[in-house]
Symmetry: C2
Subunit: 381 residues, 2 copies
């Protein structure tokens, strides 16, 4: 069994497959270094709920519910922390028009039965005293949590190794087919790695994989995200939970880590594979972050980074079988890769393990994420 890609999706899938008894080789020249390494790590299905994406919301909620158990099991298997933090999220409106947008989000959340409580500005500032005096109110969203993606991928690597997963640091140059089915890969080391089953989990690069029929290639594209790490001196107060905000119509989030860093993101830019950190993006993020938490002007600008998320045509991931026998696909997670790792890994392990136990109705629920919906021959289970 080959897992192509060692980001959070590939790693989690490899771990679950190995646990299910498969003999797994994971290929990645630099595991845990792509979009997973830049991500903020919000486990936030409620504040990420969007009109028209109700199927995705269901998957997001399922994975968010799975996260605490996944984190505990992973920490135990790896002997390493993953930083799961259930302090909750406060969504903030900066001006009256942002307040209107937040009110609308709340009505949508409420209709879906999601836990989200409108609270006046004065109570927001009681909960988080570093908030700007001028904010217009917010939503208390106690079940939107966070995890530290850099800790998660390191723990997954350790857990994979403990389970006997072979980590091959070659880059895949081509998928090999035999009689139309998956047969292995060729690597940049000139090696042929032969296997009857594979998982394509190379993020945005899955859209450029060689060797597959065109209709089997997942239509993912890179969506650039720029992010900052701000470090407040230990002497200054800091927020105690994730702060999301709408600031003059722009979204910004601030995710505090235990060590004192605050992750601030993120842009969404369609610029191909460019990963330049730009003056314009850093400026907008700092502007909106300081508008909400003025104390951040005193923070060290400790890191700037850009990553490429795998965007899909309908904003939903591709998780499941491809039109090529033996090849599963797990990509297109866009802004939800960290959140969706537990459920994705479970689905992939279920699909590729012998003695699958998922009911037909369970796969029917997941049909919206079937990778074959872009291959011109969607199969409803």
């Amino acid at each position: 069994m080959l897992v192509l890609g060692g980001g959070i999706i590939g790693l989690a899938s490899a771990w679950r497959l190995a646990q299910a008894g498969a003999s797994v080789t994971m290929l990645d020249p630099s595991p845990a270094s792509g979009a997973s390494n830049v991500a903020a790590g919000m486990i936030a299905p409620v504040t990420e709920a969007h009109y028209g994406e109700e199927a995705l919301l269901g998957l997001n909620l399922q994975s968010a519910t799975a996260w605490p158990g996944f984190a505990r099991e992973l920490e135990e298997a790896a002997g390493l922390p993953v930083g799961y933090d259930s302090s909750g999220t406060l969504a903030i409106a900066f001006d009256p028009s942002d307040k209107a947008a937040l009110d609308e989000l709340h009505r949508f959340q409420d209709k879906l039965g999601l836990e989200s409580e409108p609270i006046p500005a004065v109570r927001c500032r009681q909960m988080e005293p570093t908030l700007a005096p001028s904010i217009r109110g917010g939503l208390n969203v106690p079940f939107d949590h966070q995890v530290d993606p850099r800790l998660v991928t390191q723990a997954l690597l350790a857990a994979c190794r403990a389970r006997g997963v072979v980590v091959n640091s070659a880059a895949v140059t081509e998928i090999l087919l035999s009689k139309g089915g998956f047969a292995g890969v060729r690597t940049d080391a000139g090696e042929r790695v032969v296997a009857g089953q594979g998982v394509l989990a190379t993020g945005w690069q899955a859209g450029r994989v060689q060797g597959l029929p065109a209709s089997a290639v997942p239509p993912v594209r890179p969506v650039k995200g720029q992010i900052l790490r701000l470090r407040l001196p230990a002497s200054l107060p800091r927020p105690s939970r994730t702060i999301r905000a709408v600031v003059r119509g722009q979204s910004v989030y601030l995710v505090p880590r235990p060590g004192g860093d605050i992750v601030c993101g993120a842009t969404a830019e369609e610029l191909g594979t460019d990963t330049t950190v730009t003056a314009g993006a850093v400026y907008s993020l700092l502007r909106d972050a300081q508008a909400v938490l003025p104390i951040l002007s005193e923070a060290e600008l400790a890191e700037t980074a850009a990553g490429l998320r795998p965007g899909s045509p309908d904003n939903a991931p591709m998780i499941g079988p491809s039109i090529v026998d033996g090849l599963a696909i797990a990509t297109g997670h866009y802004r939800h890769g960290i959140l969706l790792a537990p459920v994705t890994a479970a689905m992939i392990a279920e699909l590729l393990s012998e003695g699958s136990s998922s009911s037909g109705s369970e796969w029917a629920r997941w049909a919206a994420f079937d990778p074959r919906r872009f291959s011109g021959e969607v199969t409803q289970a």
Copy 2:
């Protein structure tokens, strides 16, 4: 002869002293790495002219006039470029109130006979098409030039070595005196380096030097400056000369380097020895830079840095004899270290070389910079 400090002032002094025949040892654990390495390198006496600093203006003009010859001689001696660029400077007003400030600067420059031509916004934008459409006008200052400080210090190091200057990478822990006169230094390597003459050129750290009588210690303090390097893609247009601007009352400068980098600075912060790059400073610099040159939003944020300039109580440098026999001082250059390097090195070499040829009247002109003005026993030459 010992030169303490290997920033641009120490290096230029060591070079000139060695040229004059002295046997020179320069001590610095990390030459060319302090404030000189962060500086933008403007040779800009005209746009830096300030009320009440007419004596300093005279010295600035003298050194600016010396720069082209100094640069040529240094490039020849070192066999390395220093990036002297005589493209000139455009000072820009962002809004009507900034325009009033610039008009006032112009009247001051005009009164002093300095070359500075008020030009309307439309001509500013003809000269520099990347300027924001909304600017209110500017001053054309053709004789404010620039040099690349990182190239200058590397060239000075090479020129010093070619002249036989010994570079000792120990840190000075104490100045040694004998019968009240300079006798050498002790280093952190436990070494005593003996010499009858020395130059204290350790920038802001000169204010904390050990071993001198209190009244001989130059009262310099660190003044933090934060600076950015922005890199425009080769496909985009860029300014062809230094742009200085007043943006809503704040000064910002943009110094284009031949390679495509644009140096953007700078803050002036009294925060002791802190060199943290802060979110607040990066934000303000980016805001004002983009207000003047909107195209910079597309630039890579290639570097952020903070340096500590040696500030003096009267904003004028200390160049000349100390109250300790055999010890000269060259520090307190604050924002003018690069500009003043040629004249400072010439003064120090003149002072410490045998057969001094400077007239009494020349030293009288320099009395405003005599380090002993802070020792309670100023000597007028």
